[in-house]
């Protein structure tokens, strides 16, 4: 990611855009923040918000004509917030809390002719910027037409306060000035820059023709002269218009004095559109709370209640759904910034690595986001970059990649024509996880397919390479895919019948030249098998896997199959193209085990009934637990009458590892009648352990086979430690990079495992 890519990505996420009220406010008062403070009765903090942005809050806060109000999002679900009356409440019960700083004096002779509210604002802003202004009015007081218009809403002392404020910032105030055209003409000489406030200055006194006013800069045709305020066309008088014009003019005048562009970057000045996206669905309606006494304004209680109706407009739509973004407390805009910074680190700790490796690459956020923010793409590309530059932490994906290699190796991989045939029109591709989870079901579904499809249906036990892709291992991934394509080619390019949505997505995206079909769509077109388990009476909640997000046809076939077999099903609260990942996607659960668990819980929590139905092996593996009953659809169709698909135990990492190899060995002998190959001697070691130890091994990503290897090595060499007190043994073995340790004890015809652990630190090679 380079800086321009970062900027482009950041611009997609509108979470930091102004809420509707602030954007519509000509001076961008943080009304959302104000509402939050008022709702909590934090009056000082509320006042600070006004002091920070408003000129003379004691005046403007009391009488703002709230042009923001029609834009308030609350209007969709009730009435818009009474922002003006709430500001009035705030300034009536607080004094000034915060005084914006005054910059060092920079010189320049500045005059403001007319002391209406726009002139006052211009004089205030310029004086604060270090350009003390001379504010000149023919009237005996400040405010132009304002005091007359506002009447009792403005106590007279607020103008005294305003005067004191202006003087505090170094402004000079001349009241009761006698102004004629000649005097004004002399001002053109005397001052470098002049603002004319049309609310208080008589245009007839201009010594030049006023001409047109530039709407962006408020510059008049006369050099160094600016004008604004007063009544706009036939619109009613607006005090906020005065404030906006005064502020706008002050910025132009400051730029004029600096000799820089008057027009650059002024799009967000004044009321402007916002790209903020706020979903109001599900928020209860609420009507406006009005003041019982309109003259006195809100009571404390009324103000609190009205402010509490604010829905604090923001987006965070993706964060509301995604366990990963919630876990790291980021929204995509902040997330990509962190990723960018992480990648820029040359020396030091790249502390965002784990975050980058924890995204499930599921694309849910992209579907949710109004601007399709591609978090998955960013995390994926960053992983590829980390691998390419040698910055990928070796342990992050080692286990999953090891399992992939094993699945592709001779222990598990198999590609054969249907027994008794020499050509294949189809090739059944169950995928690595389904083969490991339900080998019996895979076998029965294969047999079924061979009975119902013509032209020969081969079997292909392998892996699509998704783990390599998710891990950012581009080279490895393309090797896996090209080997796979070669093998399929050698079979005569049959059509792959793919059971797993992840494989299907991988082939669709990266091997478009392969002919592929979804197993579900194939089954949906065939006469379905007789169901051999007790179909539940209450509906099962269907959980779509995240990788079926863009597979509408697959999702439809699954539902159609359920209907045909009479399996009652219902939908999740969030599914289909919005489905969550179960924690397997993107190798989330390997790079971040606790988060994987949370993702699975979140997905399971979308159920609308007690029992669930998955059609991805990993979804079921991750969601099924002591409390959740979850079936796999293939297991329902081809159920082993002895095993209830809803309550079959979780298989686990070691179980899947074992079963993949056993499936190959078994099918080779049952279907193709090959002589059984002898398996590695360590596999013959019988190992018993408590469930607790099984869980511990899973958590530590250690396979039972790793433990068998340690024990085999220890027992054949005699190199182990021994604890005479309890008869246990402790030994280690390092097949490749990781050193595994097993604490065990000999038992009748095998061993009892008491613990297993591993480390990647290398010990000196012991010379035995």
């Amino acid at each position: 990611m380079d800086q321009s890519q970062l900027r482009a990505l950041e611009a997609l996420c509108i979470q930091e855009e102004m809420p509707f009220c602030t954007a519509a406010c000509p001076i961008h008062v943080d009304a959302r923040g104000l509402m939050a403070c008022l709702a909590k009765d934090e009056l000082r903090e509320a006042r600070k918000i006004l002091d920070r942005t408003m000129p003379f809050p004691e005046i403007l806060g009391r009488i703002c004509d709230q042009p923001c109000r029609p834009f308030c999002k609350r209007a969709e679900i009730g009435d818009p917030l009474a922002i003006g009356p709430l500001e009035r409440y705030c300034v009536s019960v607080t004094g000034t809390v915060l005084k914006p700083p005054k910059l060092p004096i920079k010189g320049g002779a500045v005059a403001v002719l007319g002391a209406g509210f726009s002139g006052m604002t211009a004089a205030l802003d310029l004086s604060r910027k270090g350009r003390p202004a001379t504010l000149i009015t023919a009237r005996a007081r400040l405010g132009g037409s304002l005091p007359d218009r506002a009447g009792a809403l403005l106590p007279p002392e607020v103008f005294d306060q305003a005067e004191a404020t202006l003087k505090g910032y170094g402004a000079d105030i001349v009241k009761g000035a006698s102004l004629d055209r000649e005097t004004v003409d002399s001002f053109l000489e005397k001052y470098d820059v002049i603002y004319f406030d049309w609310d208080d200055f008589d245009r007839d006194l201009l010594p030049f023709s006023s001409g047109t006013t530039d709407p962006v800069t408020l510059a008049l045709e006369q050099k160094g002269c600016f004008g604004g305020g007063g009544v706009e066309g036939d619109k009613p008088f607006s005090v906020m218009h005065q404030a906006e014009n005064g502020r706008r003019a002050a910025l132009s005048m400051e730029r004029y004095l600096q000799g820089v562009s008057l027009t650059a970057q002024r799009e967000k000045e004044g009321a402007c559109p916002t790209r903020m996206y706020t979903v109001t669905e599900g928020i209860p309606r609420a009507s406006e709370i009005t003041a019982a006494s309109p003259i006195d304004g809100y009571t404390a209680e009324e103000a609190r209640a009205e402010a509490a109706r604010c829905i604090y407009c923001e987006c965070l739509e993706c964060v509301k759904k995604c366990a990963y973004l919630q876990e790291f407390q980021e929204y995509p805009k902040t997330l990509v910034r962190k990723i960018y910074n992480n990648q820029a680190i040359v020396q030091g700790t790249r502390s965002a690595n784990r975050m980058i490796n924890s995204c499930s690459l599921c694309w849910q956020c992209t579907v949710i986001c109004p601007n399709d923010f591609p978090v998955a793409e960013v995390c994926h590309a960053t992983r590829q970059e980390m691998v390419a530059t040698g910055h990928m932490p070796p342990s992050a994906h080692a286990f999953a990649l090891g399992e992939m290699e094993y699945t592709l190796g001779e222990d598990c991989a198999l590609i054969r024509h249907q027994p008794g045939t020499t050509a294949s029109r189809y090739l059944f591709f169950p995928g690595c996880q389904l083969a490991g989870t339900y080998p019996d079901t895979v076998e029965r579904s294969y047999t079924y397919l061979t009975q119902h499809l013509e032209g020969g249906i081969g079997l292909f036990l392998s892996c699509c390479g998704a783990p390599a892709d998710w891990a950012g291992q581009s080279e490895l991934f393309s090797d896996v895919l090209s080997d796979l394509k070669t093998l399929v080619g050698q079979m005569g390019k049959p059509t792959l019948i793919v059971a797993c949505s992840s494989c299907l997505a991988i082939f669709g995206k990266h091997a478009p030249d392969l002919e592929v079909m979804s197993l579900w769509q194939v089954l949906d077109a065939l006469p379905l098998p007789e169901i051999r388990f007790d179909i539940p009476k209450t509906p099962l909640t269907i959980h779509d896997p995240c990788t079926a997000r863009y597979q509408e046809g697959v999702r439809a076939s699954v539902r159609s199959i359920c209907a045909k077999i009479g399996l009652p099903v219902t939908e999740t609260t969030i599914g289909a193209e919005l489905a969550d990942c179960c924690g397997y996607g993107g190798l989330m659960q390997f790079a971040n085990r606790p988060l994987g668990g949370k993702a699975a819980d979140l997905k399971a929590g979308r159920s609308t009934t007690d029992e669930g139905l998955a059609y991805c092996a990993m979804c079921r593996e991750n969601m099924v637990g002591s409390k959740t009953h979850m079936a796999h659809l293939l297991d329902c169709l081809f159920a082993d009458p002895k095993k209830d698909p809803l309550t079959r135990a979780r298989v686990g990492l070691s179980g899947r590892h074992e079963q993949r190899a056993r499936l190959k060995a078994r099918l080779q002998s049952t279907l193709w009648q090959d002589p059984a190959e002898s398996s590695a001697p360590h596999r013959a070691i019988r190992l018993e352990m408590d469930d607790e130890i099984r869980v511990l091994l899973e958590e530590r990503l250690i396979l039972v086979e790793d433990m068998q290897k340690v024990i085999h090595q220890a027992e054949t060499t005699g190199r182990y430690l021994h604890n005479p007190a309890n008869g246990r043994r402790l030994a280690s073995f390092k097949p490749a990079v990781v050193t595994y340790w097993a604490e065990y004890e000999p038992a009748d015809d095998g061993f009892i495992l008491h613990s297993g652990y591993s480390h990647r630190m290398q010990l000196p090679e012991a010379d035995s």
Binding site: G348, T349, R350, S351, N353, R354, P393, P394, S395, A396, R700, G718, R719, Y720, L721, H722, N723, P724, A725, R729, L730, S732, T739, W741, E743, S755, Y757, S758, H759, R760, M761, Q762, L763, P764, A766, D767, S768
Partner: protein, 69 residues
């Protein structure tokens, strides 16, 4: 370089040599970093004990730190 000691009295004995373990300096390495630590080792055959709490505690911490460098 200073040596951290993780040597602690232990009931484990080397089975092959029938010896109690004794503290000894060991050079452990990971990703181009070298650490001198003291661990319990068989004085006869140099079998090094990495106890579970070390492997899943301090050692893991350091491994992950180095991986993020």
């Amino acid at each position: 370089m200073s040596t951290f000691s993780f040597a602690e009295a232990t009931e484990w004995r080397c089975a092959a040599c029938d010896q109690p373990l004794q503290p000894a300096k060991v050079r452990v390495t990971y990703l181009n970093s070298v650490f001198n630590v003291e661990l319990m080792v068989c004085p006869a055959c140099d079998f090094i004990l990495v106890p579970e709490n070390l492997a899943t505690g301090k050692m893991l911490e350091v491994e992950q730190l180095l991986e993020d460098k």
